[in-house]
């Protein structure tokens, strides 16, 4: 009976999350990204995601357990068991025989039941630790019938957190830019999709370049640079309503927006005072504070994880390198020395590493430097790599690269071990930005 109580508490809390998601009225269906898993990590944890038992009329199409299985696979940290190899298909605790799962070499087993409740689908699911023969998770979650994928991603997040201790990122969103056509037919599209590339929605379409999408910390807005007026201008775009506001349209560059943790200000690169410098703009009143002052290019700023200082790219040493300014006004300290081209720093959310674009020989890779030891490691094996963006739990990294001459997105584990790529079904995809975990 204790378990029952837990089910009900969760059932009350969860629908709020899904209704918030529903408020994001889609402005247009986008072309979905394909998903291609290229390699898994050797250390992946074996987990059995048993097909969920179903009662009542449930929508055809995506199965919740398939979504969970795919999510756990793409994290690179799990190796789900092929359901055809399962000896039994339990859907609740009394049906789970630990010996069978041990025999199959599984560390964890997820079982569950789906039922229809009006226009909603309810999932009851339980996660077991096979070695300890213990249940480590037992919850209920519900979502509108039309939102099965959200339900699947939510369960993936819960399972991931129960096993690793870190929050899952399967319910988060990606923003990116697609490019199709040539000449008059050229179209840039700002799109938002799930982390597996599904459910893509077009948020802005333009004949002129769009770049540098950046998520507000609450996941409700995107800042980006659009050339729709013939020059780079920074906009802030409210996803729920589609309302947009020009926030920076000064003479010269208006580029590289990055949000502060409280969502009230944007770092940006402006050249209004002569050349590219980093500024901070208070969004409420448009007040500007200049943070860098140098004849060199200063751009691509991002707050450090503590929110006190900034990382940015500067070519004050002769070529682009990463600098850290401990607090606004402090003397910048150079932190990259390993090659002649290091740019676009993106710190992880826990303050362990800063990731950036790194040139080695003739190729561009994503590298990271440990903030503790200063040690640098190259983590991508592709070339022409750009635009690193770290997942909100710090475990994964998405970046843009080229495959067969086309721009694709690739996700790797933060140490470079596992990988999957997200090519566009048509044309190029670039400039990924990993959205925050929605509270």
């Amino acid at each position: 009976m204790m378990n029952r109580n837990r089910y009900h508490n969760k059932a009350q809390a969860f629908p709020v999350v899904l209704w918030l998601l529903l408020l994001f009225v889609p402005s247009g269906a986008g072309a979905e990204l394909l998903i291609r898993i290229t390699e898994g990590a050797d250390s992946a944890i074996p987990v059995a995601v048993v097909p969920f038992a179903e009662s009542g009329s449930l929508p055809a199409g995506d199965k919740v357990n398939s979504i969970v299985q795919a999510d756990l696979t793409l994290s690179g940290e799990f190796r789900p068991l092929d359901p055809s190899k399962m000896l039994s298909l339990p859907s609740e605790r009394s049906e789970v025989y630990f010996r069978d799962w041990r025999l199959l070499g599984q560390r964890y087993v997820l079982v569950g039941k789906l039922s229809r409740n009006g226009d909603r689908v309810e999932a009851r699911y339980e996660l077991f630790d096979v070695n300890r023969e213990q249940r480590i998770l037992g919850e209920t979650a519900a979502a509108p019938v039309s939102n099965i994928r959200s339900l699947g991603h939510h369960i993936s997040d819960r399972v991931y957190e129960a096993i690793t201790g870190d929050p899952g990122i399967f319910s988060t969103k990606l923003a990116y830019i697609t490019l199709t056509g040539e000449g008059d037919q050229t179209r840039y599209r700002l799109q938002v999709s799930d982390v597996d590339g599904k459910r893509a929605k077009i948020r802005l379409e333009s004949r002129e370049p769009i770049l540098s999408p950046a998520w507000s910390p609450d996941g409700k807005k995107l800042a980006y640079v659009s050339f729709e007026t013939g020059k780079p201008v920074i906009f802030v775009h409210e996803l729920a309503t589609g309302k947009r506001r020009k926030v920076a349209d000064f003479p010269g560059l208006n580029s590289a927006p990055a949000w502060s943790a409280d969502g009230r200000s944007l770092l940006m690169t402006l050249s209004r005072d002569g050349n590219a410098e980093v500024y901070r703009m208070e969004l409420a009143n448009g007040n500007l504070a200049r943070l860098t002052d140098h004849w060199a290019i200063d751009t691509e700023a991002a707050w450090d994880h503590a929110g006190r200082g900034i990382y940015f790219t500067s070519d004050r040493s002769g070529g682009p390198q990463i600098y850290h300014m401990e607090r606004p006004g402090a003397e910048p300290r150079r932190i990259t020395f390993g090659s002649r081209y290091n740019a676009r720093p993106r710190p992880d959310p826990v303050g362990k590493y800063v990731y950036y674009v790194h040139q080695r020989d003739k190729s561009f890779h994503i590298a990271r430097t440990s903030l503790e030891t200063g040690e640098e490691s190259v983590i991508t094996r592709t070339g022409s790599d750009e635009s690193p963006s770290v997942s909100p739990n710090g475990r994964l990294l998405i970046y843009a690269t080229r495959q067969n001459g086309q721009g694709v997105l690739t996700v790797v584990s933060a140490d470079g071990g596992a990988a999957y790529s997200l090519p566009a079904s048509e044309g190029e995809v670039r400039e990924p930005a990993w959205g925050p975990i929605m509270k």
Partner: protein, 190 residues
């Protein structure tokens, strides 16, 4: 009215040599000048020539003096130079190449002689490196050309600059030749 012409010949010519012009990026701010005062300072009738209609058969070469021939030749040379409107750069630099200087001087003179002429300098980078850094690099290239034109007689009010970074390559592809053709500033006359 003048359209850019990117000929292979001009490209090859401009790709050679790597003279460092005296106006590499220094970040000094060029003073904002009133557009009106620049225009007033120059004799507006002096720079333009009005030609008649279709009855041109009265002109014969025998009426030209040596000085006139020389002037005509120079004018033709200047015109030929000004047909080149795209200027190329080395990777991650904004240094104007030596053999671009004569062409840019011709453009600067033309702008000085025609104060109502407006030009837009469009700065570009190749696809290598990061997009935002390339946006700033494209601007620095456009600014380098702008400073050169101003130093050589054009007025600031005639020139506007914009950077497209790596967003508008003329040649797609990852070859060195494609990269070289994409690292450029284009002069677009209105």
């Amino acid at each position: 009215m003048m359209k850019k012409s990117v000929t292979a010949k001009a490209f090859a010519m401009l790709m050679s040599a790597g003279f460092v012009a005296g106006c590499s990026s220094t970040g000094e701010t060029v003073e904002e000048e009133g557009y009106g005062s620049d225009v007033a300072a120059i004799d507006q009738d002096g720079g333009s020539t009005v030609y008649g209609g279709a009855d041109g058969d009265g002109v014969s070469s025998t009426t030209l003096t040596d000085e006139e021939r020389q002037a005509a030749r120079e004018q033709a040379e200047q015109q030929a130079l000004r047909d080149i409107t795209v200027f190329y750069f080395d990777f991650d630099t904004s240094e104007i190449k030596q053999d671009a200087r004569d062409v840019l001087v011709a453009h600067a003179r033309h702008l000085a002689d025609n104060p109502r002429t407006q030009v837009r300098l469009e700065g570009h980078a190749d696809e290598r490196g990061t997009k935002e850094y390339n946006l700033a690099l494209g601007e620095r290239r456009a600014n380098a050309i702008q400073r050169f034109l101003i130093v050589n007689g054009a007025s600031r009010g005639q020139i506007e600059t914009v950077s497209y970074g790596e967003e508008k390559p003329v040649v797609r592809g990852a070859t060195e030749s494609a990269h070289a053709q994409n690292r450029r500033v284009e002069l677009v006359f209105k």
